[in-house]
Symmetry: C2
Subunit: 336 residues, 2 copies
């Protein structure tokens, strides 16, 4: 598809946004660190290895069951840094606020940011506040950037998946995405839905204490598990096989997805991670994850195979196979 305008699809995390990144941005900011396309950048400086990550949060609504734009912004960047195998240390916060925004709401958001930072054990050491005239931004957008340190013996990257690796998902899928959708639609369910926003850095530390044989870590946010696995399959040039019946999903999320016609494989998670672990160490890492409150429903959902390199496919409940493709464009704008 040719277009001369930016579409919602360009920010989706799917195929079209990948093309924007690869065709426009990589050639301009040409450097090997950016070209790695990890959740955060990994670089060496004076013998130390750092992770550095940035994300802007534009979620709508700004308050939702399970969280708000504030703790989402802290947890999101904490997790991006943790997915580099790093211990997140320092964060920056950039607020862009619409004129007329209620100060009590800003207070609530900042309070939740403070609590989230404390829970994650990170410190917000610098910030910036811009207020723009009414109509120039919808309520409030938040950018967080962060810095972490990577222990010398840890080496995870999106292109490190290896044949035989087991793929662990840390818990149920699609909770954040479906919560935001149903809030927007004004729907309510018997079993209330709630975002899974959470800091995963402590669990990651515990995983590495259990074993260093972790090849890839990824938090399946925008675009969900389906998109994250496709990126890893492509970057590692391996085939990925997942088992439908193994993928954890609450019945409430499953019902809401069916009702609204969403595939939970592509819905955002904000407190989950995917880990690619050697076959030998997979049970040890799984046990470490299950011992953490954010990983108590962790499950092995698949493995790296030599079929279909660069692709993801699913063994369905009824025994069939289907390719889990990367979505072209945007299912849901302003999901995070």
């Amino acid at each position: 598809m040719k277009t001369d305008k930016i579409l919602l699809d360009h920010g989706s995390g799917g195929k079209i946004s990948h093309r924007l990144l690869k065709d426009m941005m990589l050639p301009i900011f040409d450097n090997p660190i950016l070209a790695e396309l990890n959740d955060g950048a990994i670089f060496d400086l004076r013998g130390m290895r750092f992770a550095f990550s940035t994300d802007s949060y534009t979620v709508d609504p700004i308050f939702f069951p399970g969280g708000n734009i504030g703790d989402l912004a802290i947890n999101g960047t904490v997790n991006d840094i943790a997915m580099c195998g790093a211990t997140p240390i320092y964060l920056s916060v950039g607020l862009i606020i619409e004129e007329g925004f209620p100060i009590t709401d800003l207070g609530k958001i900042l309070n939740e940011m403070g609590k989230a930072a404390q829970k994650a054990g990170v410190t917000v050491i610098t910030g910036d506040t811009k207020v723009v005239p009414k109509g120039a931004v919808d309520k409030i957008f938040i950018n967080t950037s962060g810095i972490g340190l990577i222990p010398q013996d840890i080496n995870v990257a999106s292109h490190h998946a290896r044949l035989g690796d087991k793929i662990i998902l840390s818990g149920t899928m699609a909770d954040h995405g479906i919560t935001i959708v149903t809030q927007r639609e004004g729907l309510s369910f018997e079993t209330p839905l709630s975002s899974d926003t959470a800091p995963l850095n402590h669990m990651v530390k515990e995983m590495f204490s259990a074993s260093n044989d972790i090849h890839v870590l990824r938090d399946p946010t925008r675009g969900g598990v389906g998109t994250a696995l496709n990126e890893i399959a492509e970057q590692s040039e391996v085939g990925i096989k997942i088992y439908e019946e193994n993928i954890p999903l609450t019945s409430a999320v499953a019902a809401a997805c069916e009702l609204l016609g969403f595939d939970p494989l592509y819905l955002a998670n904000e407190g989950k991670l995917l880990a690619f672990v050697t076959y030998e160490q997979s049970e040890v890492v799984l046990a470490a994850m299950r011992a953490n409150p954010y990983g108590n429903a962790a499950t092995i959902i698949g493995e790296v195979v030599d079929e279909y390199p660069g692709k993801v496919f699913m063994q369905t409940r009824i025994g069939g196979r289907r390719i889990v493709d990367m979505l072209a464009g945007e299912q849901l704008p302003r999901i995070c």
Copy 2:
């Protein structure tokens, strides 16, 4: 003034935004690094000293004489890091784009960002792109965050101004601010106005090669020279005296300010710095600045005195004195 809504004044860099920062943010994100309130955060890690800074750019219009939102966003964060005495190394870029934004305009902005990064000698190693539905943001906002290293023998901070220090301004004042204003008003002048957006990190390096007796560095962006000097006077608990006749100002900027009723002391600069240097070393540092293209109009505009601690005052052309107060609120939203 009591209000329950966020006003443009809260983002001004003036008194009201300082109150927001001190009353709401500092207590929540309570830590000594943030409390320093430098342009960027300064922290130690494993024996190295780092600077870390973030800024969101919401300038309107996005293209203006002398630059655009892209090079402004690179130069702004490069300069904030340089003002910590650091060598900026790595940057992140977070784009928030409105659906329907022309791809050619995005290309132009990214190109200028690439060129600006090259000129400053920094590398953009991580990024994030969000596209939001039409009306949720005005065209494009850009966040840049950055990391720099501070050489061990450099120690500048907003509270380091000392009695007797000479105050050097690196060139003419108010060029960026008045250019944006006149663009918005659709005014044109015989002598065209142009933003001064520029990376100052190379000049800062040359200044420190000349002398380490530099106590404070500050780029007078939002709120201009007047606001920056007030912050330094307050944080260093010293009096600041400036000489009206010494402050460099192009006749075009002076004329436009007079016509439009703006005080150039409070208009934004995007390629200028203020340096507080010991009396003994001030001429050496001044010479180093003048040898750099971005400092060729550098001038000593004032000094630190024992009168009026915490205040800034100006010796006027006709020999009088007036207090240069910190503005309460916003003169110009979306100036950078």
